[in-house]
């Protein structure tokens, strides 16, 4: 073995760098999107409202992955595990201990933050492919862990748990679905604002420095170990809240809802939405909710193939996902305005 063999080529970075400015939307666009999100449910049927709620919490889970990958350049194919933990914590607290639902979410978030922070410790040693591998294993193992016998007392084992849907408080004349939608919207907005600010803060800059060049970052005095695990923890915590919201909205948790397929969907949502572009998360979530419905309409079992083909198309044609499309659209609009 010569010395040359032991050197890995340079420029083999994990993710392409995204400038900090490009990670969010402008104020005007944000307000329009916010107004749309508030207004649409007023004119929609209950089932559509449920789907919009789904869109919000899955978007939140994609956002969490985006902070980890787009922000700090680490991978995770194990988000479904944290999502599952969050959902189970919420469901168990609500059903077995009668804790009100809005108190369950912070607990789920904190517990998942802890779990993610701990899992981040071994993940410190790993980068790129190895990290993808370890988290992949975590995701495949999670359903079996949730089925464990000695937890069955709380989790209901293979059967899962049924969760009661909360009513609108203060005697508001609102359907349960609509109340849950607005509740989810508030939670998601709070976390979105938090994430945007996080990425703009000192910690966010540290994440990005690690993403772009770990060695340079540590030379600049960034505590690489701390910030890498922190990114893992924050991402897991937000995913846990998303999982908790899903448990309340779906009214049911079972081990087999949190398989590797879910992790793959979240990953796919991030790639489609654009890695590192936070608002893209919601577009990615829309993609993972509505595309399978259309594909299943054509044939059962087709959704995987359609997913795969679309993913390849995205990788080849628009490697930056929805962000690239948005930028193209902006440039096109600018050109039209000039004419």
């Amino acid at each position: 073995m010569s010395a040359a063999e032991e050197v890995v080529a340079e420029g083999n970075e994990a993710v392409e760098a995204v400038p900090k400015r490009a990670m969010t939307l402008g104020t005007g666009t944000s307000l329009v999107v916010l107004l749309l999100l508030i207004a649409v449910p007023l004119f929609a049927k209950n089932f559509v409202i449920f789907q919009l709620t789904q869109l919000l919490y899955l978007g939140l889970a994609v956002l969490a992955l985006n902070i980890l990958t787009g922000g700090s350049g680490q991978f995770s194919l194990g988000q479904s595990a944290f999502y599952g933990i969050g959902a189970y914590v919420t469901a168990v607290m609500m059903e077995q201990f009668n804790v009100p639902y809005f108190l369950c979410l912070p607990v789920a978030g904190v517990l998942c933050f802890g779990a993610g922070f701990l899992f981040g410790q071994p993940a410190l040693r790993l980068s790129g492919v190895y990290l993808a591998l370890a988290t992949f294993a975590l995701a495949t193992a999670m359903p079996q862990l949730l089925k464990l016998n000695f937890l069955e007392h709380w989790t209901g084992g293979v059967q899962g748990l049924v969760v009661t849907k909360p009513d609108a408080p203060f005697g508001l004349k609102m359907s349960q679905d609509m109340w849950l939608y607005y509740f989810t919207l508030v939670v998601v907005l709070m976390i979105y604002v938090f994430s945007v600010n996080l990425l703009r803060s000192r910690s966010g800059r540290a994440f990005m420095a690690i993403r772009d060049n770990e060695i340079a970052a540590s030379a600049m005095g960034v505590n690489v170990a701390l910030y890498k695990t922190l990114a893992f923890g924050v991402s897991a915590g937000i995913t846990g809240v998303a999982g908790g919201l899903s448990a309340i909205a779906v009214q049911f948790v079972a081990p087999d809802s949190f398989t590797i397929t879910l992790a793959i969907q979240l990953f796919l949502g991030m790639v489609v939405g654009g890695v590192g572009w936070l608002p893209g998360s919601i577009i990615g979530a829309a993609f993972i909710i509505f595309v399978p419905n259309i594909a299943e309409g054509i044939s059962k079992g087709l959704s995987g193939a359609v997913f795969g083909v679309l993913l390849f198309l995205v990788i080849y044609l628009v490697p930056h996902g929805a962000r690239q499309v948005a930028i193209l659209g902006q440039q096109l609009a600018g050109r039209l305005r000039k004419n």
Partner: protein, 292 residues
């Protein structure tokens, strides 16, 4: 004591499968520096092809050979069409590509052959091997085929020009290109061989786990665990890792209370993580030094 010997032998038999899978994983990893998450699904698809051939009346070994040839060509085709354009892309893009491939193969196998569980024949029979109760002839056959495969690969890489060229292309691509080796085709060849090896693993394990589109999920995780344990840079290590993981899995299932079938995957997870934390290069792998 008899239980112990029995479990070790059974472990070696399943370990043979993990060894094949790990070998396939390591071969692609060596060639392109990426883990192929679709390896298991590719093996599953090949196994379905052989099953279909057998259903059409092709004798077992005929189907075996045709499947090997098919997998080899398919592996090369996948590399040429889908992954060659991604060679310079960031890791994320490659991982996304493998996941896409995983989804496509898994669901098209489900579309073509549906998701019901199918019996898969064994060419070795399932009688006790040499009159001993310890292992069945199929398990002995699994070990035998794996050992043959390893010897074949060893001679291929050690004593043929093309094997040497492949090793050169994997370890120092630039210099290999300078001495006239077509490194790009060596990568394709690596894909072809890895896919063929994977298909052998699939065809050997199918009589044990039954044939269905999700059959390789657990096997792939154990294959990964074996590859990580042996060292992702060492084909020999991958094989040793495979056998060790097989034995470990069986012994843990027998002697640790509460570890039954339902905890098999968490064990693999724990194994992967502890190896990566304690000895990231694995037992036989070499450390990768990064140039600043």
């Amino acid at each position: 004591m008899e239980l112990f010997t029995n479990q070790v032998l059974a472990g070696i038999a399943t370990g043979a499968i993990y060894a094949c899978m790990a070998l396939a994983v390591v071969m692609i990893y060596q060639a392109i520096d990426h883990l192929n998450f679709a390896q298991g699904e590719m093996a599953m698809f090949s196994t379905f092809i052989s099953w279909q051939l057998i259903q059409w009346g092709v004798p077992y070994w005929g189907a075996f050979i045709i499947t090997l040839a098919f997998s080899f060509v398919a592996g090369i085709a996948i590399e040429r069409i889908l992954f060659k354009p991604l060679a310079k892309a960031p890791v994320l893009t490659n991982v996304a590509g493998f996941i896409a491939l995983f989804a496509i193969i898994n669901s098209s196998a489900g579309l073509i052959w549906d998701f019901t569980i199918k019996q898969y024949p064994t060419p070795f029979g399932s009688a006790p091997f040499l009159g001993s109760q310890l292992i069945s002839t199929h398990q002995a056959g699994m070990i035998g085929v794996t050992v043959l495969l390893l010897l074949g690969l060893y001679f291929f890489f050690q004593y043929t020009r093309i094997g040497l060229a492949m090793r050169a292309a994997a370890s120092v691509p630039e210099s290999a290109r300078l001495v006239g080796i077509n490194t790009s085709w060596m990568i394709a060849l690596g894909w072809g061989m890895a896919t063929a090896i994977g298909s052998i693993a699939g065809m050997l394990i199918a009589p044990v786990v039954f044939l269905e589109p999700n059959m390789m999920g657990g096997v792939l995780i154990y294959g990964f665990a074996a590859a990580v344990l042996g060292g992702l840079t060492s084909p020999f290590g991958a094989v040793v890792g495979g056998f060790l993981v097989g034995i470990f899995e069986n012994l843990a299932g027998t002697y640790i209370p509460g570890v039954g079938n339902e905890l098999k995957l968490p064990i693999a997870l724990a194994l992967i993580i502890s190896v990566l934390v304690v000895k990231p290069a694995g037992l036989f792998g070499r450390h990768i030094v990064k140039r600043v």
